[in-house]
Symmetry: C2
Subunit: 615 residues, 2 copies
């Protein structure tokens, strides 16, 4: 199969047109000179974990933020990098493919060659396995020709993609040393970027000169923090899924006899489900984060769905569309406990067939209550991040099954035994509930990337080069202000360690960012939930377009949220500079007193806010 990597291939007319699209660069990355301005040393967002992170990452913790500026920008102490020696860089795809991945390689390649044509970019074939085995393909214009702005990871391929065990880390170090790499760029999500940070630390510790750079590419959209606003691929995935969801909504409204239960790929966090809801306005969505926050049981969720079906039936509506994130199943408390028991037994080597007999009485009762297809899916081995195989567990079918059972009960119940008479039984007078189930994931992952993802990935690739040129290790490329046009984008780099948190008993790591139930995007959903549920205000963004209306649309969740953290950090720095400039020795006593008093007060407030007890 290796011989097939990077080969030119026949493209459709539309694909050919897309290869001609050249993403724009923000002003700060144009030309051959770029300034780097270093900000303050970073800390971890979670102050209580800072100590642990620092201990685990003595060489790479606390490094300063980096901002990339135009060469003409008037910033006093910015450093212009003019010496651009030829470098050898390796790049590897890690984890689930995400639309736009190829453009990171293109951007990185372009930046390398613009600054020194003698620089070399080696792609590792077949993900981390290719890295360990030192299987490479030298990237060239010819090779890139049919992969520009195209979906998939098939230029290089990927595998299971962990760089975690001592053996794996040693193999990676060995590859970087043997191939004389100045830098290794890792393209991936939370897990791969955690691996990147650990690798950077190990390389530093062992005096390996290869710098490690991370690029945030994941369709889940869950690599989100102060520094990272969204991920490459998320926009495309949400647009393709929203197209399909809204087609299904139109279908529901035309046939008026089905409830569609649609599960969406996206791992633990419900970012994809939330964004798709805001784009296509289905009747309902149940976010894993809501279930988790309210500790909703399987029976609570079923009741909630049945109440919705019943309320709609009272308005003579027998159709609807319900979105379910794939992470939902793990967020249900009793299912989570059951999964923990199952995974524990599997890890002990118990065969799947023998597990049901070894469960605790309570877990066993739940297990026996579930329909057979779900039982088999729950018995699958957990993934490398210890979560269940979410893409294989048909939560949509489970809930459709439970809702159908419950609706039939509400419909026909006429028991004489009033002792077991429940409130809802016999209250439903409508037509039979019919569900059709879908899982949307694989059919979106290979899509042609949206214009936004093409641009974002290409720019991140360029930033990757500038991080290398600045000699930084353990950084992730960042772009801020993404909801604005490309010429307003702010480019930078942040140490990956600054994005880490520490969980009980856990190593410091990047964790999937779950939907913030106090955030503006969720608030928008809450405000519209009743209307979505009852009024069928379905919205059809249509198929992904590359020109005309909608072609430049950004994710709703990106636009409503007030991010630009890096911009604010810079602005604050400017204020501090101004204070320093005004309060120079020689200025009046009054000015010094005023400054002192104001600064003392600011310092007090901030100390209070960041003391561990208040968090």
């Amino acid at each position: 199969m290796d011989a097939d990597y990077g080969i030119a291939r026949e493209l459709s007319d539309l694909q050919q047109l897309r290869t001609l699209y050249k993403p724009q660069l923000p002003p700060c990355l144009q030309g051959t000179e770029v300034r780097v301005e270093f900000g303050d040393a970073t800390t971890a967002a979670d102050p209580s974990g800072a100590h642990t992170i620092k201990k685990s990452f003595p060489h790479t913790y606390g490094q300063r933020l980096a901002h990339f500026l135009r060469a003409t920008a008037k910033v006093a102490d910015a450093q212009i990098i003019t010496d651009q020696p030829a470098v050898r860089v390796g790049v590897v795809f890690c984890g689930r493919q995400s639309p736009g991945g190829h453009n990171v390689i293109w951007g990185l390649y372009e930046a390398l060659k613009v600054h020194n044509p003698k620089s070399v970019l080696l792609g590792f074939l077949g993900g981390s396995e290719g890295l360990f085995a030192q299987k490479t393909l030298e990237i060239s214009d010819e090779i890139l020709a049919t992969y520009k702005n195209q979906g998939g990871y098939d230029l290089l391929g990927r595998t299971k993609d962990q760089i975690r065990t001592t053996e794996q880390v040693n193999a990676a170090l060995n590859a970087c040393t043997t191939l004389k790499l100045d830098a290794l760029v890792i393209i991936g999500g939370v897990t791969s970027n955690t691996d990147a940070a650990r690798l950077a630390e190990t390389f530093a510790e062992r005096n390996c000169s290869t710098k490690v750079v991370g690029i945030p590419v994941t369709l889940n959209g869950d690599l989100k923090n102060h520094f990272v606003e969204t991920n490459v691929g998320f926009d495309t995935i949400c647009k393709v899924n929203s197209q399909l969801i809204s087609n299904v909504c139109t279908d529901a409204l035309s046939a008026e006899k089905y409830y569609y239960f649609i599960r969406l790929m996206g791992r633990k966090a419900s970012q994809v489900a939330l964004e798709c809801t805001l784009q296509s306005h289905p009747n309902m969505v149940i976010l894993a984060e809501e279930v988790d926050a309210s500790k909703l049981t399987l029976s609570d969720i079923t009741k909630q769905l049945c109440d919705a079906v019943q309320a709609r039936a009272e308005q003579d509506k027998y159709h609807g569309v319900v979105l379910l994130p794939e992470g939902l199943i793990e967020s249900i408390p009793e299912v989570y406990s059951l999964l923990q028991e199952i995974h524990g037994l599997l890890r002990k080597g118990v065969f799947a067939d023998n597990i049901s007999g070894q469960l605790s009485p309570w877990a066993s009762a739940l297990f026996e209550f579930l329909p057979p297809f779900i039982k088999n899916q729950l018995l699958l081995h957990p993934e490398s991040d210890d979560s269940a195989q979410l893409s294989q567990i048909e939560t949509e079918k489970l809930l459709a099954h439970l809702v159908e059972k419950e609706m039939n009960k509400r419909l026909i119940f006429c028991s004489l035994d009033t002792r077991i008479f429940l409130q809802e039984e016999g209250t439903y007078k409508g037509k039979k509930f019919n569900a059709i189930c879908h899982f949307f994931g694989y059919q979106a992952r290979g899509s042609l990337p949206s214009k936004f993802d093409c641009d974002y990935a290409y720019v991140l690739g360029h930033i990757g080069y500038h991080i290398i040129a600045a000699g930084l290790n353990g950084y992730m490329a960042t772009v801020n202000n993404l909801k604005n046009p490309v010429n307003k984008w702010r480019c930078g780099a942040a140490p990956i360690t600054a994005m880490m948190t520490v969980r009980r008993y856990g190593q410091p790591a990047l964790y999937p960012a779950t939907v913030d139930l106090r955030g503006k995007a969720y608030d928008l959903l809450r405000q519209n939930a009743a209307k979505f549920l009852m009024d069928d205000v379905y919205r059809n963004p249509g198929p992904l377009q590359f020109e005309g209306p909608g072609a430049d649309a950004r994710p709703v969740t990106l636009c409503v949220e007030d991010q630009d953290y890096m911009g604010r950090i810079k602005e604050l720095q400017e204020y501090l500079e101004k204070v320093r400039a005004i309060v120079k020795p020689g200025c009046s006593q009054d000015i010094v007193k005023a400054a002192l008093s104001a600064m003392a007060s600011v310092t007090d407030i901030l100390s209070l806010m960041t003391s561990p007890s208040s968090s």
Copy 2:
């Protein structure tokens, strides 16, 4: 729910842009005057059934073809319809929604109003049920505004949609009489157009003045015959599905560890599966028609798939994409027999739970061999056309299950009992086979229609009006030369009875046109099958576009086939006219002799070819 029909709704930017698109009309339908030229009286394609059809349809069988021409066209005996009285027309959606349906209503409405602003178009609400109950919505510019070039059937809705029983036919007749309709336009596929033909005959027989017109709209693409080249919706469905299939192909090639088994909606015929294969080049497709023609058993198909997996593994390829039409399951001989037994028992009122005990020993053996999920799906009640509930039977999961079992056998078999040693066992040395299953149907049905479907539907709507103006009953609107640009399209109308065939014990009806295994489209597939299977020449047509490359692409199967039957019929007529013009009384004896000899020979050949024994 009725109150929600036809309401204006909020559209996305792209939807709004699409409402502004105005389909072109072919030259023959431009202006306010149109000529109708009547061709020869029609016969049925199946000469042996002609007698039966004539007996069933005494009033509407054998009517002449109609061609619509420009008012300025120089055709001697064409009739210009200048008197355009106001008419009252009803229109109803029947059967599965198909992208483009709304444009038929728009085209019909426009043509009605252009020729007489006093004409009225009534839409029946909720399909045939709305017809029977006389629930109508008067179509207006305001109502159409947000439905132009939009998907779904939600302007009017649809229901189960049969107009077949005496009670249903009487209700339809009653509605047409009470509402004083000059015509009823039925939008649908093979079943609905068969109903239309029967209704036309009944109306004629009972002296009801309402004319019945059929419009070929079905995503299955199986209403195909000499007169009808393709159906509204087929192009969109194939484009949307091909997008998803090719995304999955890209995914397969990136991850290199999964086989995707994808079932496609399309009823008995495999038209959708064939078209999607030619658009996206997956590794394999198994057409129901191939299985039917070669009488392949479940075990044959499993073996064929396993051999493909094994051949690919020998080239170190552990991924692939296989398409399966939903009609495949019924085409497998032993499964068909089993389904016949089950449906027979269900019709006798046997409960699903008791059926397995009452099957013949042979059917019972097959039934017990199948995995439980498929058993339940096979036990579902048959559809109104007596076929199984194809959309509910997960053939893709069944085959994935059987292939996995067989591959595991080939992989690890090391039995000591050589008596049961089969040829393939123990021959597979590759990695474990992993399948992911999909059903693509509902997520495409509600799509925004492609430009072609928008145009085709709009033109058919116009033709619907001209059929009414010409006073024709039991006709279907037809457009020929569809693979060429709209200005080359030829418009006409053909009696629905001319498209009927008679099956043993059956009533004359339109039957789904299956893939012609001797046709050019299938030949194209055959020529490429080996390359598709082994070389991963996946092609990604990309998401449906409305401008630029691919926006005007026509279905491959439409383009490779050499259709234009109506054009040839017209050309032949012109030859006959020429002979008549040359051989006028007074011409030389030699010319008469030459003409006589040539015509006698033509007549002999054609008589021989159309005699029942040769067919």
